[in-house]
């Protein structure tokens, strides 16, 4: 005599403690009395960036011979093809003989053969849709803008139709927290805090980022151990930035989307426009040279006048772009340093003295072989 068990997700619609309902597709067939083993040790994993995997344990009492165990998930969004069912102890003397799928039902039946009557702990894993995750950060910057405390939050929202009385939630970087989560409920959990993280503040002129030529204020966090981060790749998410105002309270100073930042990369956060720094660009020379038929070179001088109306000196980064083949001429002047990022892009650092004293960056370059 085979024993027929029914495993039903505790959250499946209409399931009582001892009686499991399947959609009655034919009406007479699938309403059965069943022992409903409790879910034990539920783990919800977010380590895959695209899908959520749920794993639960159930202890099933098997009789000697062939046992039929039903599993149904009506009302929840389980990916049927992803279901993996196996004994927790691989050495258990049981064999899963077959899996049968009834028509038009969110259900299946396993045929399990047991060498003797025993209780066996099984693990059941599956992908579940509509459990959303979201990362966000809080950054509390010190008054002198040298350091910050950086907090990493993980938010989960459950639209799956299922409910988790208690489960271990595992983030992409392996952080684990135990929570309950009802259907329709959202929870936000602080998963990491990094204190005394060194911060770089940059004033950036880059017309591909601000078409009006306004100077942007960026905070740059290098995701590296030497500045106090570098433990995990930082997920994409909103960063809300607050600053210690020196009076024991904080002020909100802006927010930006932090892009996905692998270890070693920079997370650049724009906190707004630096209104006290103004840059004006003029083209001073634009000559054609070395004409050969329809091919020519150009000689160009771009002049950037930078005025810093702050009370303190500032270093301004100018990110400039020139297309095609070109080279910078030696009489380029006014900068502290430069770096050619790639063929098209060059980055200058210019020191701008306080109180509006103008400083000029002269960028002299020759474009070659233009047609």
């Amino acid at each position: 005599m085979n024993k027929r068990l029914m495993l039903s997700l505790a959250f499946a619609a209409g399931i009582g403690s001892m009686i499991g309902f399947f959609n009655p597709v034919p009406a007479q067939a699938r309403i059965k009395l069943a022992t409903l083993p409790d879910r034990e040790a539920v783990v919800v994993r977010f380590d895959n960036p695209n899908v959520v995997m749920v794993e639960e344990e159930r202890t099933i009492s098997l009789q000697k011979g062939v046992n039929n165990v039903d599993f149904s998930w009506a009302g929840t969004q389980i990916d049927k093809g992803s279901i993996v069912f196996r004994p927790a102890d691989a050495a258990a003397k049981v064999e899963i003989l077959s899996t049968s799928y009834p028509p038009g039902e969110a259900a299946l039946t396993w045929q399990i053969s047991a060498a003797e009557a025993m209780s066996v702990k099984f693990r059941l894993s599956y992908l579940m849709a509509n459990i959303q995750r979201e990362t966000d950060y809080r950054m509390l910057v010190s008054k002198d803008e040298q350091t910050c405390s950086f907090k990493h939050y993980f938010k989960i929202r459950n639209w799956s139709g299922g409910r988790f009385a208690t489960a271990d939630f595992v983030t992409r970087d392996g952080k684990k927290f135990e929570k309950g989560l009802e259907n329709g409920e959202a929870k936000r959990v602080l998963v990491n805090t990094w204190d005394k993280v060194k911060l770089t503040k940059e004033y950036v002129y880059d017309i591909t980022r601000n078409g009006e030529g306004k100077v942007m204020t960026d905070y740059v966090l290098k995701n590296a151990k030497e500045i106090g981060l570098g433990a995990i790749p930082l997920e994409y998410g909103k960063v809300r930035i607050y600053q210690d105002d020196g009076n024991g309270t904080t002020a909100f100073t802006g927010e930006d989307w932090g892009r996905f930042t692998p270890i070693g990369d920079d997370m650049r956060l724009n906190i707004g426009i630096a209104q006290d720094i103004k840059i004006e660009m003029k083209k001073m020379v634009n000559d054609v040279q070395n004409r050969r038929g329809n091919v020519y070179d150009t000689d160009e001088v771009d002049e950037y006048e930078i005025k810093n109306f702050k009370d303190t000196d500032a270093v301004v980064t100018l990110v400039l772009r020139v297309d095609g083949e070109w080279e910078m001429k030696a009489d380029t002047s006014g900068h502290e340093s430069f770096e050619r990022i790639d063929n098209e892009t060059i980055k200058f650092k210019v020191k701008a003295p306080a109180k509006g004293t103008p400083v000029k960056l002269k960028f002299h370059y020759q474009k070659k072989n233009v047609w």
Partner: protein, 427 residues
């Protein structure tokens, strides 16, 4: 449950053909199927059903009616063959009555009163099978346990009880679809199906069924041990094989044409003896990869539909991007060289030139173990490629770097490409 209330109803009408007797038809209910064998193809919607029954014939002409209302049987495929007593039985004709297009009547001449085993075979659509695989990767991705399954799905409108099931792997040619020939009728017949399923469960063998694999011409046949009952509308999955310790290579691959503009982690293994496989071809199906997330817990890696994998052939599975292994390409310099000019009258114009570009490729590995890379760079036109790191020419426009980075490793590769345009390009 009575099989004949909804099954393929066949009525045996034994009559002598003299006009006087025509009206006096003797109706004999068809005996139970003794055996039924299903040969299911996966490349087309086709199943060959072969059933044997014991029939009693009277001397003279016998009329045997076979009907299949509510099923997906191709009427042109139904055949009658005597297995015993064949020398005494002769099929005179097959008629398809005008009033029913789901019935035929064989007129069979018997030399004497006799009992014979007959085989009725036909094609049906609506029964299919598919392969499916689970790859359980070790924590370090270096090996996996590969489990193969076959799932048989029955939507044919008919239940074949205790059938021997054979699965054909291979691509056969059909000039018309069986579902089309069957008239496309599908009638759900699910009454009693659940009861049948339970019954099948009770009757089940308590050990896992063996699936025997044999080659035949261009095809491969899997024979499932014992018999199966799959009620209409149901599907049933059985394990085909399980192999532990299959070595897997994990290569971070840049190949935008195949995997998009991302450094994709490609898992590779071969269906051969060195990989503890290679006993049979692997039919097309979905491969799902899971990884050991510690303490026997599973994490999900990804899934892919694979084509048929012949013995000794290789399979590559894209497990997606990995945030801890990165690649960046920067064009650090562009020059135009070897400009050549021609005259059109007094007008000089450019007719040929080269571009000479320098690129920097930066690879970083933040994982705690060494990883392999395969970087495929595709160029257009007439180009020369040079680099400090050795590369292979894969085809006329593709160069490949293969390299390894230790844990927390970093490498920069500079390469240069000269491309000739206009009259500089080879004709």
């Amino acid at each position: 449950m009575n099989r004949y209330t909804f099954g393929i109803a066949a009525l045996l009408m034994l009559t002598a053909l003299s006009p006087a007797l025509m009206a006096k038809e003797e109706l004999v209910t068809l005996p139970k199927r003794d055996k039924v064998q299903l040969t299911i193809y996966n490349s087309v919607d086709l199943t060959l059903v072969r059933e044997t029954r014991s029939l009693t014939f009277k001397k003279g002409n016998n009329r045997l009616q076979f009907s299949w209302a509510g099923t997906l049987i191709d009427p042109t495929s139904v055949e009658f063959k005597a297995v015993t007593g064949a020398d005494k039985l002769d099929v005179l004709d097959t008629s398809y009555p005008a009033e029913s297009n789901q019935m035929l009547i064989w007129t069979i001449a018997a030399e004497a009163d006799l009992s014979a085993n007959v085989e009725i075979s036909y094609f049906t659509s609506g029964i299919s099978w598919a392969a499916e695989y689970h790859g359980m990767l070790a924590a370090d991705d270096s090996s996996m346990t590969l489990t193969a399954y076959v799932t048989v799905m029955n939507n044919s409108g008919e239940e074949y009880e205790d059938a021997q099931v054979r699965l054909v792997i291979g691509s056969i040619n059909l000039v018309e679809t069986i579902a089309g020939l069957a008239g496309g009728q599908r009638t759900a017949r699910m009454e009693e199906a659940y009861g049948e399923m339970r019954k099948a469960g009770r009757a089940a063998d308590s050990s896992r069924k063996e699936i025997v694999k044999e080659g035949l011409s261009e095809y491969y046949i899997y024979t499932v041990g014992g018999t199966e009952t799959i009620p209409n509308g149901w599907a049933k999955r059985l394990q085909s094989f399980e192999q532990a310790g299959v070595p897997v290579r994990s290569v971070y691959t840049w190949d935008p044409a195949k995997y998009g503009a991302q450094l994709a982690r490609i898992l590779t293994f071969k269906n051969d003896e060195a990989h503890k496989l290679g006993k049979e071809p692997l039919p097309s199906g979905i491969v799902r990869f899971y990884r050991n997330a510690g303490a026997g817990r599973l994490g999900y890696v990804g899934a892919i539909s694979t084509n048929y994998i012949a013995k000794n052939d290789e399979i590559k599975v894209n497990a997606g991007a990995d945030p801890e292994v990165t690649m960046k390409v920067t064009r650090t310099q562009l020059k135009k060289e070897n400009l050549s000019f021609a005259f059109n009258g007094r007008q000089q114009y450019l007719q040929g030139w080269d571009t000479y570009e320098t690129f920097k490729l930066e690879l970083r590995n933040f994982r705690d173990r060494a990883v392999d890379f395969e970087i495929n760079l595709v160029f257009g036109g007439d180009f020369d490629f040079e680099s400090e790191l050795a590369s292979n020419k894969v085809d006329f426009r593709t160069q490949r770097f293969a390299l390894k980075l230790d844990k927390s490793g970093k490498q920069e590769v500079v390469y240069k490409v000269r491309t000739r345009f206009g009259t500089n390009a080879k004709k």
